[in-house]
Amino acid sequence: MDLQLLWFLLIAFFWAGYFLLEGFDFGVGMLLPFLPADERERRVMFESIGPVWDGNEVWLVVAGGATFAAFPSWYGTMFSGFYVALLLILAFLIVRVVSFEWREKRESPRWRATWMWANTIGSAGAALIWGVGLANLVHGVPIDSDGHFAGDFFDLFSPYTVVAGLAAVVLFAFHGATFLSLRTSGDLLERARHASRRLALPAAVVAGGFVVWTVAVAVDRNDKDVFPPVLPAAAGILALALAVVFAFSMRSGWAFTMTGAGAVLMVATLFTSLYPRVMVSQPEFGNSLTVETASSSHYALTVMTVAAAILAPVVLLYQGWTYHVFRERLQIEEEPGSS
């Protein structure tokens, strides 16, 4: 296979992994102020993602690193062009990362409430801006003939990209709720199920609308045919519809599988709508960056391919094993500090 296409697919894969995995830990973060009745339940929610969120976030680091290595101009133009957006994401992620490690280090209710909100705002904010940012790759931003970004922060916002951001937020919240329905017990489980029923329809409608709109944008602004982007879009809509059904019929495992599939297919729709461009330029469509113009040399891509072929399966194995180790439902402690 053509190495440029392969790396385009791999980057899409890393983003899909990021949406699938960090998607639910973002979702749990967003639900923190709303689900738990007390500190013990809140602690259980933190614990449900505690062992895995950090590994989940590495998918983002790898997506970024792979873009840098395989498509340097894409990386340079996207990261400098989306400057303020990425700055906000960094701020959100930093306070969120710290909240995980530091929240329980002090007893004071104010300290704990502050870090809980830091986690919630960080999760929702980062999800929102990632949605907006990735949608802009297809929707197009001003790029000059040297391949540099030629717009400003507000060029990133259009009705379509804002819907993308909202779709990410509400779908991740739903995904987080179905995850909690798998990992918790007792009252908290009941409330997680309730939340997933409440979130199911809005998430399916907004995320479903977003994938349809993405196909339309790809045709309209990126010179694509309806086929093939319509395939992942249709599959995404199906997955979201099934997620609604399973959420209401309380089949948690299937509901979680389908919210995950919805997140993955959202990324798949975006990247299918993008190829062979990596960053669409609008209004000067001719300045768009493509896999051809943005890619690294054949040798560099070969080296990276060998490295990824060896390392990625190992990573998948041990990360999968982690989820196996922490598969049991979490119980609420009877008395804090004992047991």
Partner: protein, 465 residues
């Protein structure tokens, strides 16, 4: 155009310098404490002595607090190349991107996943498997340091690559990974990490001796710290000075600037301290203390070796690369090298005295030394920061030695205002985190080590979230 362009690149530089140095406040402790904590857990596993388990938990908590902020600030480093330095990114991505991407796949996944398993796995994994997770975490952090040093060393000494159509292209991954510069710099960073962690373990233990609390628990920790610290800090002094020889070979200007050596000399004296002599207009110091022949030895391994001066290298570079100023900030490189070397020596001396007292079994009663050990905690941090200042400032005006200048590498689409905004945001956020981190670390360093045993396995007040 020129004034605006200059201030944009200058702000981008200030941001890179501050965020990188800040990030590196947390990296060495993680690098060094990860294997030390793993060693403590191994000693517990082997001996069944509860003191080691309590120490594992105790220092494990400090490691976690520290690691969190290292992860958070590390993400900024990856994004920043593209955000502020898009020309650089497009120019080097083919070469520089590979070790970064491989770092993510090979190291960062390992670190993050196994840290989660370690923290939450006390009661879920068998003891041997659980012990393996902390070692894999330590391995991940070492691998991470290796790939980052490979990337940085390519900027110091670009190997395994060629320039095609105005950008760098990788020609040999093997040459890139075995860059002599990278090997020396990587080991140096690991030694710095172990030194930092051992100084922290020693300092914290001595603080507990001063309070007369938990003496039985911290005695083995202090001993372990000294056993690591004495040889590691000594080897690091030698290793660091040998790195100077490698630098002399590939970056003569960096060494000349570090020594404020304007004219080529043979043999060359080492300037211990000087006033003046740091600018083109003022090349002769008004006062200096010198050791004859020592600079020749440090730079060439021979007491009468030749060291090229800045004037000669400047003339050569002008011929090679065209007109321009190729001299780094002399005063800054001169002093950062001395701060690094003098503090490194001081750390070794503290370690040697500590080892002597321990051998005489007087360590816990020698109060002036206990205070000294506590006061020494900042030393390795300051030395490490000075070391990075030297490494990066000594390469200027280049961002990639001989290939691309820093002034030509920043993002054209990013305005001064935008960088000023991001710089203030990072300053505020990092400042706040620094204060909170210090408060938390101090709090946990002063606690009694967690109790274990008695109630079965769950004594793990899981250094959890």
């Amino acid at each position: 155009m020129s004034t605006l362009a200059v201030s944009t690149v200058d702000l981008a530089r200030v941001q890179f310098a501050t965020t990188s140095l800040y990030h590196f406040l947390f990296v060495p402790l993680t690098l060094g404490l990860a294997p030390l904590v793993a060693l403590m857990q191994t000693l517990w596993h082997r001996s069944g002595n509860d003191a080691w388990l309590r120490l594992t938990r105790f220092f494990g908590t400090l490691l976690l607090i520290n690691f969190a902020i290292g992860v958070a600030t590390g993400l900024v480093q990856e994004f920043q190349f593209g955000m502020n330095w898009s020309i650089y990114s497009a120019f080097v991505g083919d070469v520089f991107g590979a070790p970064l991407a491989i770092e993510g796949l090979a190291a960062f996944f390992l670190e993050s996943t196994f840290l989660g398993l370690w923290i939450f796995g006390w009661n879920k994994l068998g003891p041997r498997l659980h012990l393996a997770t902390v070692w894999l975490f330590a391995l991940g952090s070492f691998l991470s340091a290796f790939f980052i040093m490979v990337a940085n060393s390519w900027m110091q000494r670009p190997v395994g690559s060629t320039i095609t159509e105005g950008r760098a292209e990788l020609t040999s991954i093997w040459e890139l990974l075995t860059n002599r510069f990278a090997i020396w710099a990587f080991v140096h960073v690991i030694l710095v990490g172990l030194t930092t962690a051992a100084v922290v373990v020693l300092g914290v233990s001595c603080w507990h001796f001063l309070r007369g609390r938990n003496v039985e628990i911290f005695r083995p920790a202090a001993k372990l710290a000294l056993i690591v610290l004495v040889p590691v800090s000594a080897v690091n002094l030698w290793w660091g000075s040998h790195l100077g020889i490698v630098i002399t070979e590939y970056q003569p200007m960096k060494i000349a600037s570090t020594e404020a050596q304007w004219d080529t000399c043979q043999p060359c004296a080492f300037s211990l301290f000087q006033i003046g002599g740091f600018t083109v207009e003022d090349q002769t110091p008004s006062f200096s203390i010198q050791i004859p022949g020592l600079l020749s030895f440090l730079a060439t391994e021979s007491f009468d070796g030749e060291v090229r001066g800045m004037n000669e290298v400047q003339a050569q570079y002008e011929e090679q690369y065209g007109p321009g100023n190729y001299i780094p900030p002399v005063r800054a490189t001169y002093w950062s090298m001395r701060v690094m070397a003098y503090l490194g020596t001081l750390v070794f001396l503290v370690a040697a005295v500590g080892a002597f007292l321990m051998w005489k079994q007087r360590l816990e009663r020698t109060r002036w030394f206990l205070w000294l050990a506590v006061a020494s905690i900042p030393l390795p941090y300051l030395a490490a920061l000075a070391g990075w200042l030297l490494t990066e400032m000594g390469r200027q005006p280049w961002i990639v030695q001989g290939l691309l200048k820093t002034a030509d590498a920043n993002s054209p689409s990013v305005s001064t205002t935008t960088i000023a905004l991001s710089l203030s945001l990072f300053a505020a956020l990092y400042g706040l985190l620094a204060v909170l981190d210090f408060v938390l670390m101090r709090h946990y360093a002063r606690l009694d080590p967690p109790q274990v045993g008695g109630e079965g396995g769950e004594a793990a007040p899981a250094p959890g979230y």
